[in-house]
Amino acid sequence: MKQIAANPVYKFLLFPVGQIILFALGASVILSLVTVLLAYLFKSNFIDFDLVERIMLILPQVIINGLTIGFVYSTIALGYTMVYGVLEFINFSHSEIFMVGGIVGIQLMAYFEHTGALATMNEYLVIALAIVLALIVSGSLAVIVERTAYKPLRGAPKLVPLISAIGMSFFLQDLVRLILSLTTGEFNVILPKFGTYDEFWKLAVPGMEDPLRIQIKSALIVGIAILMLVILNFLVNGTKVGKAIRAVAQDRPSASLMGINVNQIISITFLIGGALGGAAGVLFALKATKLDPFSGFFPGLKAFTSAVLGGIGNLTGALLGGLVLGLLESFAASYLGIFTNGAFGAEYKDIFAFAILIVVLIFRPSGLLGQTVGQKA
């Protein structure tokens, strides 16, 4: 057993992938069971249609949507949780770094469209290039933000860097808006149409009349997110830099005594977190097809909620939290209207996340996976 655990293929590939799949399946199954149970309970209140049947009809689609957005949340949440683990502060501007990644990605595709290369290039190559560019831009932006707005405030009372981060978030929103309006004349960016990833795979499922329709886009988002999560896992648990990051997160003064350059490690943490956020931005852009400088705000908040839900400072927790939140949101958006007969609908899904956040903080402040590095002080 010990031998298997030490095998790098197992440790850095099979185990994390298995964990992700387990989390995704587990969360989907539990939520579906709860929903169906509720449907059976309230079935008698609905006379003109069969509640259970109606819910079962869209269930697969709801789960797929939830997992897609859940993986995006997980990827963003990792940025929050890494920074929180190291510095114990909420990097409020992470949502803007995420947004910048998405916008940069779309702008690259728009540039390819403008030069006419988009029609001839392989669509997956385009997406890969957009992600790489977003990784670089968002990662460097995160480091610049850290150096200018957070580093001078290290050691100040806790509220001081937080307020600075809020200021940075606002500043970046309008700065991006200014740059976009000055260069293109408007600040909405729209994903150009290309390739076939908008289409559906149809999987015939035995026992169901209609085939299960999976948008290629969703599969792509999930696949890329898993890939990045595996790479991150390797970075943090398998390399020397990762070891240093973990050491700094655990005890900064001691890590510094051991010869670790703390400031450099903090910058690297921001770099990794920001890069992940930027890549998540491109994935989100593929799904949303339209971004503006303010569209990072809500996904950012939800990702933060995911990080808290999973246990802030805990990387696995952020992954689980993102998946659970994405699924919960998708379920709420699709079923709230059905259950309440149209009185409350999908428009409440944004505040649903906050309700979850408040409930988690009251009953289990350490999150689903417990034992955090946070709240030391």
Binding site: L159, V160, L162, G167, F170, F171, G185, Q375
Partner: protein
Amino acid sequence: MNTFFSDLYKKANTGFWPVVIAFAFLVVGTISVYLNPRSLFAFLTLLTTPVILYFMKIDTKVKVFIGLLLLIVILPVLGIRNIFYLEVIFQMAVFSALALGLNIVIGMAGLLDLGYVAFYAVGAYAWAIFGSKQMSLLHSIPGAAPANAEFFLDARWFWLFIFLGVGLAALMGILLGLPVLRVKGDYLAIVTLGFGEVIRVLALNLDKPLNLTNGPQGITPIQRPPLPGVVQALGNALTPLVGHVPTEAEIYNVFFYFLALIIIGIAIVVATRLEDSRIGRAWTAIREDETAAIAMGIPLVKMKLAAFAAGASFAGAMGAVYAANRTFVSPETFSFQVSIGVLTMVILGGLGSIPGVIFGASAVTLLNIQILQNFSLYLSDLRQSDAVIPIINFPWKNLSNQLDPAKYQKLVFGLILILMMIFRPSGLIPAARRQRELGDEKEAE
């Protein structure tokens, strides 16, 4: 050079000179605004007077006299001549009240509240729902209102609703506080932010199943209270100074200006008294060290709830006044940006410092609705001229018309927050207690 100025300041700050300077600013400001009602510079000169009054050594009686002269006589008269100034001052007053309230929560008790606008919204929507026709339209689809609907309450109920706004907002503060006070520092910030968004989303979507808020279109018209006879008479008495008989709308503006002034007055008194009271000292203790505060026997939860309730109540009162002043409320008015705007005012002026917070609120409001606007106008003037930017030889004409400073308030707020945090975390006019304790240099480390 520096010593030259400080010597000059010292000389100017002795004997009768301060009074002379204050009067000079008052008189010059008044005359220039009277003659050029549109000039920003003239208005700024006039507004420097209170700052001089605050900083210079002047006998208290003289200070009060000049202050009252400015607030009660000069500003209303000038305001009727150019109604925009009254609007500016009214907004300054509204935001000063909000900033004073937020200052209790953040500055005194040290609880970062990012959803402060929610309490403002509660006060505003309370009067908006009951003071308009909305209660008679509960079952109609938004937008398809029958024209013959009746106002639900008489306009005089407004006076009660100011107090109801206070009570409701305080209640909301306690309701929010109860679950989240177990949460510390930065978590609290996010939860309160969420709460602010919840209130906004509710205002946006509670047009069904019952049409309470009329959704994104907002509620209009909202009744204004009937004018007391005194105000009417005052308006008529002003006729010779203003140059024409003031219209009802203008008198209403003066009326709301005085109402806001009264609320600000009460808010200042309450905040000052609270600061030096038992509760205020308990807040300071909690802010500095929670554990030590508990050990000293301070009831932590009770005190934190008190801070939330007291802070919220200011916003509730102003909300009701705002709804009546605008005769219109919509969810857009209560966005997250407003919460951060008020936070910016508190940070700029100085956490925990009452004069600082009022200064911050006035400065940011002025910047927001006047200086940035003027700057935009100036840029668009330049764009139409043939001038070029000197050194880089770039013609103004080619400057993109997207470069409109008035639209970039968030950028300004963000910059102010970052710069203040890095260079002067205790604000432009720091609280006396903080100065005594630490001095600015130590805190900046």
